[in-house]
C-alpha cells in the first residue's frame, strides 16, 4: 500500500516536472490549437448562413407550394432573378417615403418614391458576396422578391448637417453672420447599411485624393473589421454559431453617396438585384 502511494507520488512529480519544463511548448501548442479551432469556427460560418436561408424557405410552406420547381433550372436563372427584382420594385412602389434600389446587374443605384426614379447613379466598382451570388433560385426568389428593411445604418457624414445659430441681438450682429453656408463642408463619404437577414452593404466613395480621405477610409474599414472580429470572438467564447454577414461593397461618386444617404429615412427599404 505504502509502496503504491510512493509510486503514484513519484509519477505525479514526474508529470508535474514535465509540465514545468515544457511550460512554453505546451502553452504554444494549446494557443495554436485554439487559433485553429477559431479559424475553422469562422471558416464554416457561410454554411450556417446558407442553412438559415434554406430554413427560411422551408418555413414558408405556402411559398414552397406555389414555387414551380422548373424555375430551379440553371437556364432560367437570369429570368427568375430579373422577375424577383421587378416584383420587389412593384412592392416597393407602394411605400410613401424615399427608398433605395441597388441594381448590380446594370451597375446602378437609384432612389425612388412611389415607383418614380428620382436619382440614378452609376456604380464604378463593386464586390459582390460569394454566398448571395451562388444562391439557388428558390432561396433567391424568397429573399429578393421583396424589399429588405434597413435595420441599422452608419456613415462618416451626418444625415442632416444642422447648424445651430442664436438669434442676433440687433441688426449689426445680424449683418455679421448673414448668408454663410456652413453646410458646404464636404467630409469623405463612407456608409454601411445592415439589412434584413444579416445582409450588409458598404458604400465607398470611388476617389480618395488626399491623405485625409485615405485615413477616413482606413478608420471606417478598421471599425467594421474590429467589430466583426469582436463579434466572432464573443460567439467563439460562448460556444455559439459564428455569424456570417453576406457583404456587398459598392464604390460610387462621393456627391451621389451624400445625396443618397441624406435622402432616405432611417427605416427605409432596399431592393437588391444581384443577378451579375
Amino acid at each position: 500500500m505504502k509502496l503504491n502511494l510512493f509510486r503514484s507520488l513519484h509519477e505525479w512529480q514526474l508529470i508535474s516536472s514535465f509540465f514545468v519544463i515544457n511550460k512554453f511548448k505546451i502553452l504554444k501548442s494549446a494557443g495554436l490549437i485554439i487559433l485553429l479551432t477559431f479559424v475553422i469556427h469562422v471558416g464554416v460560418s457561410p454554411l450556417h448562413k446558407i442553412n438559415e436561408f434554406k430554413r427560411l424557405v422551408r418555413a414558408d410552406s405556402l411559398f414552397v407550394e406555389q414555387y414551380d420547381s422548373v424555375y430551379n433550372h440553371p437556364d432560367l436563372e437570369s429570368l427568375v432573378k430579373e422577375s424577383s427584382y421587378k416584383q420587389a420594385l412593384l412592392k416597393l412602389s407602394e411605400q410613401d417615403s424615399i427608398q433605395l434600389i441597388i441594381n448590380l446587374h446594370d451597375s446602378i443605384v437609384c432612389l425612388s418614391i412611389k415607383g418614380v426614379i428620382i436619382h440614378e447613379t452609376h456604380i464604378n466598382n463593386f464586390k459582390d458576396d460569394k454566398v448571395l451570388k451562388k444562391l439557388p433560385n428558390m432561396e433567391y426568389v424568397k429573399l429578393f422578391s421583396q424589399a429588405l428593411k434597413i435595420q441599422s445604418q452608419w456613415a462618416t457624414i451626418v444625415k442632416e448637417p444642422i447648424v445651430v445659430r442664436n438669434a442676433p441681438k440687433d441688426t449689426a450682429e445680424a449683418a455679421l453672420n448673414a448668408y454663410q453656408p456652413d453646410t458646404l463642408i464636404q467630409k469623405p463619404a463612407f456608409m454601411k447599411l445592415e439589412l434584413d437577414h444579416g445582409i450588409h452593404i458598404i458604400f465607398e466613395q470611388d476617389l480618395n485624393p488626399t491623405f485625409k480621405h485615405k485615413f477616413v477610409r482606413f478608420i471606417f474599414k478598421a471599425k467594421i473589421n474590429v467589430k466583426n472580429i469582436y463579434k466572432e470572438i464573443f460567439h467563439f467564447i460562448r460556444f455559439q454559431k459564428s455569424e456570417y454577414n453576406p457583404t456587398i461593397v459598392i464604390k460610387m461618386p462621393a456627391d451621389d453617396l451624400r445625396a443618397i444617404y441624406r435622402a432616405f429615412p432611417t427605416n427605409a427599404y432596399v431592393v437588391l438585384n444581384i443577378n451579375t
Binding site: L36, S69, P74, L76, K134, V163, R165, T171, T183, A259
Partner: protein, 243 residues
C-alpha cells in the same frame, strides 16, 4: 610600457563593447523574427479562413443540373417568365407621371424638370440651409426643405412675401404685429411662385449669386428663366419630388 598597457585596455573595451552591441543586435533580430513569424501565421490563418469559406460554399452549392426530360416544359416556363416580366415592366412604367414633374436634389442643390421619361432641363437651385435658429429657450425654427412627394397646390404671379416672425428675429429686429405693413415685401420672390403647401414655395430670388448653395429658409429658389419655364410647365396638381 605604460602606453602599451593603456592601448591593450582600450582594445579590450572596444572588443567588449562590440560584443555587447552584437548581442543586442542579435536580440533585436530575434525579436524581429518572432514578430514577423507571428504576423506570417496570422496572415496564413486569415488566407486559410477565406479559402476554407470558398471551398465550403462551392461544395455546398455544387448541385446536380436539374434533369428535365421534356424540353417543352422548360420552354413553357421560359415563355411564362418572359410574359410575367413584360407585365411587370408595364406596371412599373405606369408609376412614372406622363406629364411634367419636378425633381429637387437638396444635397447638390439641383433641379431636374421631366416630362414622362424625358429630361427637359437640369440646372442649379437653392434649398434649405439646415440652420436651426434659436430665439432664447422659447422659440426655434429649422430652415430645411422637406423631403418626399408633393403636389403643386397653387400658382401666383407677382407674389408678395408676408414675412413670418423668424424673418424679423433673424435680422435682429423686433417682431411687429400680424398685419403690420413692414411684414409685406414686394418683388423679392420674383415674378412667379408655386405653392407646395405647409408654407413652402418655389420662387425666384434677388440673390442669384447664391444659386447652387443651401441658403434658403426651406423654400426652393430658382433663377428668373428657370422659374418661368417651371411655372409654364407645371400645373396645379403636378408632382414635385424632393430628396
Amino acid at each position: 610600457m605604460n602606453n602599451l598597457a593603456k592601448l591593450k585596455q582600450a582594445f579590450k573595451s572596444i572588443r567588449v563593447k562590440s560584443l555587447i552591441d552584437y548581442i543586442k543586435y542579435n536580440k533585436q533580430i530575434q525579436l524581429f523574427g518572432k514578430i514577423s513569424s507571428v504576423v506570417i501565421i496570422i496572415v496564413c490563418l486569415f488566407l486559410f479562413t477565406i479559402l476554407l469559406q470558398k471551398i465550403l460554399i462551392s461544395i455546398k452549392f455544387h448541385e446536380k443540373v436539374l434533369a428535365i426530360d421534356q424540353q417543352d416544359e422548360l420552354l413553357k416556363a421560359q415563355n411564362g417568365l418572359e410574359k410575367e416580366l413584360k407585365a411587370l415592366d408595364k406596371k412599373l412604367a405606369s408609376k412614372t407621371p406622363r406629364s411634367y414633374y419636378l425633381v429637387i436634389n437638396s444635397a447638390s442643390n439641383e433641379f431636374t424638370l421631366h416630362k414622362g421619361t424625358q429630361t427637359i432641363k437640369k440646372d442649379k437651385c437653392s434649398t434649405g440651409s439646415y440652420i436651426l435658429l434659436k430665439n432664447g429657450d422659447q422659440q426655434q425654427w429649422m430652415f430645411k426643405t422637406p423631403k418626399g412627394e408633393f403636389r403643386i397646390q397653387g400658382k401666383t404671379t407677382s407674389p408678395v412675401w408676408k414675412k413670418p416672425d423668424w424673418a424679423f428675429v433673424e435680422e435682429g429686429i423686433p417682431v411687429p404685429s400680424a398685419n403690420h405693413f413692414s411684414r409685406f415685401e414686394y418683388g423679392v420672390l420674383g415674378d412667379y411662385a408655386l405653392n407646395l403647401g405647409q408654407g413652402y414655395l418655389i420662387h425666384g430670388t434677388l440673390y442669384q449669386r447664391f444659386l447652387g448653395l443651401p441658403v434658403t429658409h426651406g423654400c426652393i429658389r430658382l433663377n428668373d428663366e428657370n422659374l418661368e419655364l417651371i411655372y409654364n410647365s407645371l400645373s396645379v396638381g403636378s408632382k414635385v419630388y424632393i430628396y
